[in-house]
């Protein structure tokens, strides 16, 4: 091997090490809060207050978790979160599928106006119209109900957009024409042609709806003050206000609230990243 080539190879090796060095350093920064949360949740009080801080618990304990369940109805919060997120996900999937397919495959007066309206409401931040929505729910006596928490998460403009893009580009009109020629009704065509061929878009909508509903915070904080209806997010903050310095239990609760999202993400990470990036670029 010529010295010039060897030098070049050495240089590219050094570059690779440097690149991985920088990227790993960043990765540690990204993971640190989660690792620290997890480690703290298994520590005894003495170790949590240890100085200098110890990274990992010398005697791992589950006492923070059991203590958490005694101090607050955390299982109930968790079940509430699951129920709210599942309800929201089902509704988002159904409404997105219906509206997305109709906007993609049918021509009718008012189509553009309605679709524009759906997208335009997504630009307005929820925080900007939560006050009138709250007043309305006071009027119909829905404060402190599950319906109230779920209501604003029933639809998702992004989901309708996603399904519309998918159906318009991936399902040929001829397929629907063929069904119609065979005498199929519109409903049959929707049910047996459009829905089965939209699996990718539907699962993407479902994943996003679930992630969004799970992290919902400001709205449940407003419409619910009965602690039996708290989701984990609101339950955690209420718990934090009462036991603000008990970081062992706080980290145990935080870990439990984060865990479902981590599982969902690690199972479906490629789909989630791809969909977010692609739809992000399309706007």
């Amino acid at each position: 091997m010529s010295p010039a080539r060897r030098r070049r190879r050495l240089r590219s090796r050094v570059t690779a090490v440097l690149v991985h060095g920088v990227l790993s350093l960043g990765a540690v920064f990204m993971l640190l809060p989660m690792i620290w949360m997890l480690a703290t949740s298994f520590k005894l009080p003495g170790e949590i207050a240890a100085w200098p801080p110890r990274w990992f618990p010398a005697q791992p304990t589950l006492s923070n978790y059991s203590g958490l369940f005694e101090a607050a109805p955390f299982v109930r919060f968790f079940v509430n979160s699951v129920f709210i997120s599942v309800a929201s996900t089902i509704s988002c999937v159904i409404t997105s599928m219906i509206a997305g397919a109709v906007f993609a495959k049918y021509r009718f007066p008012g189509r553009t106006v309605l679709f524009t309206l759906v997208l335009a409401t997504a630009i307005v931040p929820f925080e900007a119209y939560m006050i009138p929505l709250y007043i309305e729910l006071v009027r119909i006596h829905w404060i402190n109900t599950y319906q109230a928490i779920i209501l604003p998460t029933l639809v998702m403009s992004f989901g309708i957009f996603l399904v519309r893009q998918h159906v318009a580009s991936a399902i040929p009109d001829e397929l629907m024409e063929a069904a119609r020629v065979d005498g199929a009704s519109e409903w049959w065509t929707f049910r047996r042609v459009l829905v089965p061929l939209s699996g990718n878009a539907i699962s993407a909508v479902g994943i996003f709806a679930f992630i969004q509903a799970w992290a919902a915070f400001i709205w449940p904080l407003l419409v619910v003050n009965n602690q039996l209806l708290f989701n984990t997010e609101v339950g955690l903050t209420a718990f934090q206000f009462r036991f603000s310095t008990d970081y062992g239990k706080l980290m145990a609760g935080s870990t439990l609230s984060t865990l479902p999202m981590l599982v969902v993400f690690l199972l479906l990470r490629r789909r989630i990243i791809e969909n977010m990036a692609l739809t992000g670029i399309k706007g």
Partner: protein, 297 residues
């Protein structure tokens, strides 16, 4: 006649399918958005019987309100700092990560984790990191001889504590979008630059960055819009618990929340909410316009 009948039947079917969806939209979004504008013109208090029309009084009062000034200032500083920092950091990282492979996929997964983790537990975790007495951040600073910092109790520093967490949270999202953009750049462009003897740095400035311009702009605008709605971190990390006795960092949504749901001044809070919408709409318009420019050129 039968063809017309068939078309009309199809329309009816479309409307019937859309009706439930559009009804939900009307009830939870369209009507409340309109009502929000209406409320902002009334002296509307939840507990008062009389709710007189006051024109633009709420807006005038808002512009003279010191809390609103602080909120707008803090929100702007938070948003611009978070967005600029996360973009400036994400861009070079995306370039380093661009070569496809197993390592790149692992890095992407790790950097993306904060994007999908819920904000409340993560804010509590960060609060523990920022803890004055036992936090690992102050411990790390003590190793290099820097005295402990009151990260969350000093309102000026707390804003920067929020920025650091905000960058951590959004970095992976920006990075992944940049990554897609970089991978879409035709390899021949970069090869041509290499043949002309361009260094890696020159290739980044002269080829990659100009081609990424529209994507960078997209990221800047969407993250700014998101950042303007900041609330959860503020509520969890700086609001009146024992560990954070200081005042909350006043951001726009917190001010809306406090006026509407602690002082029950719904009319005044709606004026602030409309202002928030206008700010967000302004950013969105910038984005639309630049997209149109792109299409015409």
């Amino acid at each position: 006649m039968t063809r017309l009948g068939r078309r009309a039947r199809l329309w009816v079917w479309c409307y019937a399918m859309l009706l439930p969806v559009m009804a939900i939209y009307a009830y939870v979004r369209i009507v409340p958005i309109g009502r929000s504008v209406q409320l902002s013109l009334f002296d509307w208090k939840l507990i008062a019987r009389v709710r007189p029309y006051v024109g633009f009084d709420n807006y005038v009062r808002m512009l003279g309100d010191e809390n609103f000034h602080i909120a707008i200032w803090n929100t702007t500083v938070y948003s611009l700092s978070t967005v600029l920092l996360s973009t400036v950091i994400a861009l070079p990282l995306a370039v380093l990560m661009a070569r496809p492979g197993r390592a790149s996929a692992v890095y992407q997964t790790i950097y993306f984790l904060p994007v999908i983790t819920p904000l409340v537990p993560m804010s509590i975790a960060w609060k523990w990191i920022y803890d004055y007495n036992y936090g690992i951040l102050n411990y790390a600073l003590s190793l290099v001889g820097i005295p402990p910092v009151a990260w969350l109790t000093d309102a000026h520093i707390a804003l920067w504590a929020l920025v650091i967490m905000g960058v951590w949270k959004v970095l992976g999202y920006n990075l992944v979008i940049f990554l897609v953009g970089i991978r879409n750049i035709p390899a021949s462009y970069l090869e041509a630059a290499s043949l002309d003897g361009a260094s890696e740095l020159q290739k980044f400035w002269r080829v990659t960055l100009p081609l990424l311009r529209p994507i960078v702009l997209f990221v800047l605008v969407t993250s700014t819009i998101n950042a303007f709605n900041v609330f959860t971190q503020v509520y969890v990390m700086t609001l009146g618990s024992q560990a954070a006795p200081g005042q909350a960092v006043r951001v726009l949504v917190y001010d809306i929340y406090q006026n509407a749901f602690q002082y029950f001044r719904m009319g005044y809070a709606s004026a602030e909410a409309v202002t928030l919408t206008l700010i967000v709409l302004g950013f969105t318009l910038i984005q639309f316009r630049s997209f149109r420019e792109q299409e015409t050129t």
